[in-house]
Symmetry: C3
Subunit: 376 residues, 3 copies
């Protein structure tokens, strides 16, 4: 018995190799070799060299963005007089977020006080002919206040309980902050690929502070300068400052990190791109374009009564969108790609076999030699 | 020699096909065919038709969200009198972010001035019996100011250097902004799948501005209307406006983009979902529910002395969570799925061989015919 | 004919097994077995046990973060006197975002009024010797206003139209909000893996409100307490509060969710990590370190004339970066990994065949027995 088992284990160490029948058929032979070459070409050329199929990739990039704007502008609005806009005013929010808004135009409604006044004729729900259309206590839909129960004949609108007078200013046809074009945006982006414990900043280690003081980003000459001119950014999206500044707009600044971590760290650099988000030139659909919102500054007068200044600001919203992909050699995708490629060779064998065994003049002969029928 | 090499290369073009032994064993044959059918069914049905295994997928969606709210409410609080809340007041921050907060209830502490007053009895660390429990200069933990060294008998709390009087108002049992239910949220979402250079907006190209003025999102009737009623959104999470508005809460509005880019672009549409984030009905754990924060408005009196109005606002925080997946045909996953499926057929061959060679009555005969022992 | 087809289908149920030649060559046999063992070891050990290759993974985590800070500090600045900072003041923005800023130091410029005054000598573009260097209407680059056309000899700078006086204060060498170290940060993080419809919060279901009132996060003793002491967080990044508080800085708080959804839900817990984002100790590049911004509070005097208080605040920006990965058993990756592993065995067969057929002394004999030449 022991000898039997011993023999069995010894026999496991014999090398067993498949027996092949050489079918001297050049047609099928060439076909099969072509298929093999194609598969190897695909594996080496496409999968490994082009698509880097030997790499494990990470697309869940972690990113932290800080922005800082510089520049001032002096404006003169008919309702509010001279005003000086520094970054603390025109950047909203001022703390340097990834998404920020630059005021380029505005409408001021100064000295609003809580009280009674007619609704603006621009609000459809506020229009009226008779008092009974202005039910007391009802809110004006998309309006400025709560109906007070009276229809005011002069304006043809309901009287409302609101911050009075309601906003009635018109946007100017030119942006009031015309100098906004020359504001600069300093973008600090820190990224990390958690899977590879790799982190980097868009302010490259070789950058010094003198360069940072004077450089302006430019695809060709300063591709790694993190300081952008607002006007340039807008132009790169294919629009003009004038297009966006009057009625507002939304711009996406893409930072793409495409890192091959098998190469040196210094090869992993950001690439910037610029798109307008709220509108597209080839679509006729403009319902989504423009960008504005309102905010108010509250004051108390000497008698302690509150009043406010309402700002309706138009401007450019910048959304810094970071995305990235990192790849590093890993055994598993390599095995998967090679293995499944080799396995596909089996499909080639199957096809060639079918041709040989069923579609050749000598097929029946090949069948007989390939398949050895045994019966006991 | 040349002839030898020539022969060798010629012989490379001979087609070599494996020699098979036909074991006329229907049991193993049927087993193997079933295994083959199962594998092919799995590959075609599950991997290709159901899971779209022929597609390369992208899950790192790039997204930009802009929101705009409409609606007003008139409130009457006992400490502060009448107040009109417009979007510029109740949306925090007002600039239309992805994450925003709507005030639904508030407590006002008007006319706070920097000075000395007793700490609120609600703060455990501020309670005292004797002056020596109120060490001068020490901060009250989770309190409102810095201890001034005196214990005030009337309140049983330390005197503190703080904005006085400290907040003492009670939340009302009903939300003060009861009309918040009728506010509307307009959500603009622009997405991009960078890998496929595909971008789209949730305001569909077919949407016109008239539709946008009147439509309200509804899963069944207006699934692509980007305007939501606050009350509806809350109801769809399974809660009532009353539940959330008094003490605040947090709601996640999911926008899911599930795009098969092999189909037409118009098939790639957003799907909305609504969940309450800060609490769950099946968990008894309510420590995380509710949402409030404080902010202050600063004033100077006629003498130039500062005072402030402190608002503790309760409300609903909306977090618009965009996620998505896009797939497009790609050769690599197709090859990997087919290849590895075919390779698994080898496992079936191995199992069937084992059965044939070791578990059948005629096994030893099959072994002899399958393995041709050669020795020279 | 019917019989022929019948036979054909019957023959499909015959089991066909490859014919093998046993080459009693122990060297190649051992080599092949070693290769097989290695491959099986790699598959089971590395791919399945270590890398969990049987799991489908999801890296596109959905996350919602709410933060709440507690603590007060009393500061005394030379320009502005005593000031009490509560969370409503030192947290910017106050509504509890994922990214927030804590004021630790500040420079106040009180009583700025719109008017004419000399530019600060710190701005290079504002320096002048003669009036013609101060072209009227030109903006001072990186300055505070618009040139008024006059060079002021006393300061050697242009007169500008700006909020006057311009900021001139110096940062103190010690952070004014020295107590900021003791502020606490309560982080609520709600996550969801959309692919697996799995959601969880970092405030674990077992946490009760008493624990939440007293606990402080600590890697060893309270790894799941969601309340962090500012000072601790800074220390864990390897810096001291002093380092960051005076000139500001940026800290990333990582929350990592690494969830094996084949195990119980209670095993899926957050892991916290802390890094300084704006600077790194091993790099000499400090151009990106520090963090500050300006904001203003606007007032009207009794005559209705506006003036403002400008704050330049330095502080610590916290960016809570959530990332995660979830895995759950899925048939497709299992098949891909097993299949491609098995397919690689084919590569082993190929190599061993080559050795056997071309590099052994008896190679020509093996070639003859392996390949059966047939010619009719």
């Amino acid at each position: 018995m022991a000898r039997t088992w011993g023999n069995f284990f010894l026999s496991l160490l014999d090398y067993k190799t498949e027996k092949f029948v050489i079918a001297k058929n050049k047609k099928v032979g060439v076909l099969f070799r072509l298929f093999q070459l194609g598969l190897i070409g695909y594996l080496i050329g496409w999968v490994f060299l082009w698509k880097k199929g030997y790499q494990e990739t990470e697309e869940a990039i972690q990113s932290s963005v800080i922005t800082k704007l510089k520049g001032v502008d002096l404006t003169n609005s008919s309702h509010y007089g001279l005003q000086l806009w520094g970054a603390e005013d025109y950047v909203i929010p001022p703390q340097g977020e990834r998404i920020f808004f630059i005021v380029t135009n505005y409408v001021v409604t100064p000295n609003q006080r809580l009280g009674y006044c007619p609704e603006s004729p621009k609000v459809p729900d506020g229009l009226c002919n008779y008092d009974n259309e202005c039910v007391e206590g009802e809110t004006v839909i998309a309006g400025h206040g709560v109906k007070a129960g009276r229809c005011i004949n002069d304006t043809g609108t309901c009287e409302i309980h609101a911050w009075c007078p309601v906003e009635h200013g018109q946007t100017t046809s030119e942006p009031l902050l015309s100098n906004a074009e020359n504001f600069t945006i300093y973008v600090k982006n820190f990224i990390k690929f958690p899977k590879f414990a790799f982190s980097k900043s868009n302010v490259l280690p070789t950058t010094n502070s003198t360069y940072l003081k004077t450089c302006r980003y430019d695809k060709d000459h300063h591709p790694y300068c993190p300081i952008f001119l607002v006007g340039d950014v807008i132009n790169w999206t294919g629009y003009s400052f004038q297009d966006l500044a009057t009625k507002g707009g939304s711009i996406g600044v893409g930072i793409e990190w495409n890192c091959d971590l098998d190469k040196d760290e210094s090869q992993c650099n950001p690439e910037y791109s610029f798109t307008r988000l709220d509108s597209s030139k080839n679509s006729q659909n403009s319902v989504t374009s423009g960008y504005n919102f309102r905010f108010a500054r509250y004051y108390n007068d000497a008698a302690g009564q509150p009043y406010r200044i309402l700002f309706k600001v138009y401007g450019i919203r910048f959304d810094i969108l970071v995305n990235g992909k990192a790849g590093r050699f890993s055994i598993i995708p390599t095995v998967i790609n090679i293995g499944s490629g080799l396995a596909l060779m089996g499909a080639g064998v199957f096809v060639c076999d079918m041709i040989l065994l069923y579609m050749m003049s000598k097929s029946s002969f090949y069948r007989e030699t390939k398949f050895e029928a045994v019966t006991k």
